[in-house]
């Protein structure tokens, strides 16, 4: 009962306002070959209490985007422009990109937490789980050591682990248990948002399943907002409410998860969905997406997907399509950046792309 009210309260408190508003975010890398524009003008809203999936192939900019959201971009990477406005439960909105490093540290872990790829291997092998929790909690808050220690059992229960795990060492835990310890640790300070980067990749099917359930319960029971980054579309189908598809440093489509799988709009999304093999049914040859992923050193002109697009038109080669909602016939309009839908799209909305 109490958990339910926490979840509701957390979602309701700032209802109507997104948790994060990402506008024209650009994250570049300086390389010997020139500027690599890994994230190049991303517009995205993250709604409070949702699980937002971010999909896309390797090199599309998923991880660069999510590390930038938490201001964790490291040289040679840098924020080249744009804003990420965070609306906290209390207090006024802040643009995370404008804060100093020490200011942004205040928000990290307390408000925004991060679950990097392969993080279950980052537990300290010679420290008991409890001590590692205490380390994290005291580092990022004013909570005293003793109080932090008392918090550990309930944090472990939050991810379905027995409290006695607190006194164990990492090597005594299975992969699934370690991953859950890491998730519990990342949300130890009751943060609003957890960004999970490929949380299931390279994990065994059983562990994968445990992780998916744990992330789902963080939202369902504790009202946490989750950004889920993975190239595995099946995981998005299992977990996400909405899916944003990235291609070549940009968002090309954002839709409800059912919409994305049943009726993908962008030709790239269509190719992505069409390349997923399924168990059962007729065995027909899948085609995948022809061509190779473009280089962030020199994105193609116009629509960045045009060299691989089966429906390429003349306009695609020199004009970049704006990311706009589709209006007709959709209860929840999908948002898509493709010239095929020019006539069905509203203009002048807040999603309109900048020139």
């Amino acid at each position: 009962m109490m958990q339910e009210s926490i979840a509701r309260e957390r979602i309701r408190s700032v209802e109507g306002k997104p948790l994060l508003e990402v506008r024209d975010l650009r994250v570049y890398y300086r390389t010997v070959a020139g500027i690599s524009k890994a994230v190049d003008g991303v517009d995205l809203d993250v709604r409070r209490g949702e699980i937002l999936g971010i999909a896309g192939e390797s090199g599309s900019g998923k991880s660069t985007l999510t590390t930038a959201l938490l201001r964790l971009t490291k040289p040679p990477g840098f924020i080249a422009g744009g804003s990420v406005v965070f609306h906290p439960r209390e207090g006024s909105p802040v643009d995370l990109m404008q804060l100093s490093d020490s200011q942004v540290r205040e928000y990290r872990w307390r408000n925004l937490s991060y679950l990097p790829q392969g993080s279950m291997n980052s537990l300290n092998p010679v420290m008991k789980i409890e001590d590692q929790f205490v380390d994290v909690i005291t580092q990022h808050s004013d909570i005293p050591d003793r109080k932090a220690r008392e918090m550990v059992p309930s944090l472990l229960e939050q991810v379905g682990l027995d409290p006695h795990v607190a006194r164990m060492y990492p090597h005594e835990l299975s992969g699934g248990m370690k991953q859950r310890v890491i998730i519990a640790m990342s949300v130890a300070l009751n943060s609003d948002l957890v960004v999970a980067d490929e949380p299931t990749t390279a994990l065994d099917v059983h562990i994968q399943r445990v992780v998916i359930q744990t992330l789902a319960s963080l939202r369902d029971e504790f009202g946490m907002t989750v950004i889920l980054v993975t190239h595995d579309m099946a995981v998005h189908a299992e977990l996400a409410d909405r899916v944003a598809v990235m291609y070549a440093g940009k968002i090309v489509e954002v839709s409800d998860v059912h919409q994305i799988f049943k009726d993908p709009k962008h030709p790239y999304t269509q190719g992505l969905i069409a390349s997923i093999p399924k168990i059962g049914g007729e065995r027909k040859r899948l085609t995948g997406i022809g061509g190779n992923a473009p280089s962030p050193l020199a994105w193609p002109s116009g629509c960045r997907f045009h060299p691989r697009c089966p429906y390429v038109m003349d306009v695609c080669r020199h004009q970049e399509p704006p990311l706009l909602p589709l209006v007709n016939g959709h209860k929840v309009p999908p948002v898509v950046a493709c010239h095929l839908y020019n006539e069905q799209q509203v203009t002048g909305g807040k999603h309109e792309a900048r020139a």
């Binding site: 192939e57 090199g59 090597h171 065994d204 595995d232 093999p277 168990i279 190779n292």
Partner: protein
């Protein structure tokens, strides 16, 4: 390209044990492969899937077949000759006829050499070409056979290629050698969905066009269903179920196969298992995890 006579790999009662302090919890040893027997033939050519979760012994079995790890007991025969006791000439033949493709397309290449080197090496080792221009011709033909443009690949360093390109270069190498068998250990697990499909299509084409037989090792049951053929399900070192892919994956008999199938996320938001099967997982998990929980080290 059908061969005059049949080539055969026979795995007979192969067992692999590992001993050491790391396996204290299971009595000082780990039986990675437990009395496994099966055979691969190129007549007719086929794709044989070997599936199971991490630690089930799939990769150990692959290494044993490739002649990289002599098993504790049992034999591996290539055309009737023991892989671990063959003469130089037979071994050269074996090395050419049985080619590996590994999981990590990043770990195969030496970062200091151009990609060309992994293609020239087999040409020299196996004397595939009389001179340089003929060698280049073979390389270009093989690159095109795996949908790579030679100009995109040759003269480049490994880090300049994508994971999918690198994995296809390895297939180009296979194409050049025209082996009878490909032992592919998780070859697509690090590739994106779209690239994954084109790689799987190439394996299917290699079977149909060149008569190559592939042992396809994967933990991803949906890719097994896609390539079809036979399937063996491995659990704790033993093969617990085998048969046609359609029978085993659509009508699984062994409880472990059912568990494995139930754990696979389905790419359909209307068929989420987290809505319907929450309780069952906790039970399974205890079974999987219980051997790992033991008293802490003193």
């Amino acid at each position: 390209m059908r061969q005059e006579h049949e080539h055969k790999i026979e795995v007979q009662h192969v067992t692999q044990e590992f001993r050491g302090a790391a396996f204290r919890s299971t009595g000082g040893k780990l039986v990675a492969v437990n009395d496994v027997t099966f055979s691969l033939t190129d007549n007719p050519p086929q794709i044989i899937n070997l599936v199971g979760q991490s630690g089930s012994g799939k990769s150990t079995l692959a290494r044993i077949i490739l002649g990289l790890q002599k098993p504790t007991s049992g034999t591996v025969l290539f055309n009737g000759k023991d892989v671990y006791g063959m003469g130089r000439k037979d071994r050269a033949e074996f090395l050419r006829m049985v080619q590996p493709v590994f999981q990590d397309p990043y770990g195969i290449f030496n970062p200091f050499y151009r990609v060309d080197r992994v293609l020239w090496k087999p040409i020299k080792k196996f004397g595939l070409a009389k001179n340089r221009s003929q060698g280049l011709e073979i390389i270009e033909r093989s690159l095109r056979a795996v949908d790579l443009r030679p100009e995109d690949v040759l003269g480049r360093y490994p880090h300049q290629l994508s994971g999918g390109q690198r994995q296809r270069v390895m297939l180009a190498r296979v194409h050049m050698l025209q082996p009878r068998f490909i032992i592919a250990d998780e070859p697509v697990s690090m590739l994106d969905a779209a690239v994954r499909v084109s790689f799987l299509n190439l394996l299917i084409d290699f079977r149909d066009k060149y008569g190559m037989t592939t042992l396809f090792i994967t933990h991803d049951l949906s890719t097994s269903y896609y390539v079809g053929g036979e399937i063996m399900v491995m659990h704790k070192g033993s093969i617990v179920e085998s048969g046609r892919v359609d029978d085993v994956l659509l009508r699984p008999q062994h409880p472990y196969t059912r568990t494995l199938l139930a754990s696979v996320p389905v790419p359909d938001p209307d068929a989420r298992w987290r809505d319907k099967a929450a309780v069952a997982i906790e039970e399974e998990e205890v079974v999987v995890e219980s051997p790992n929980i033991e008293a802490p080290n003193p």
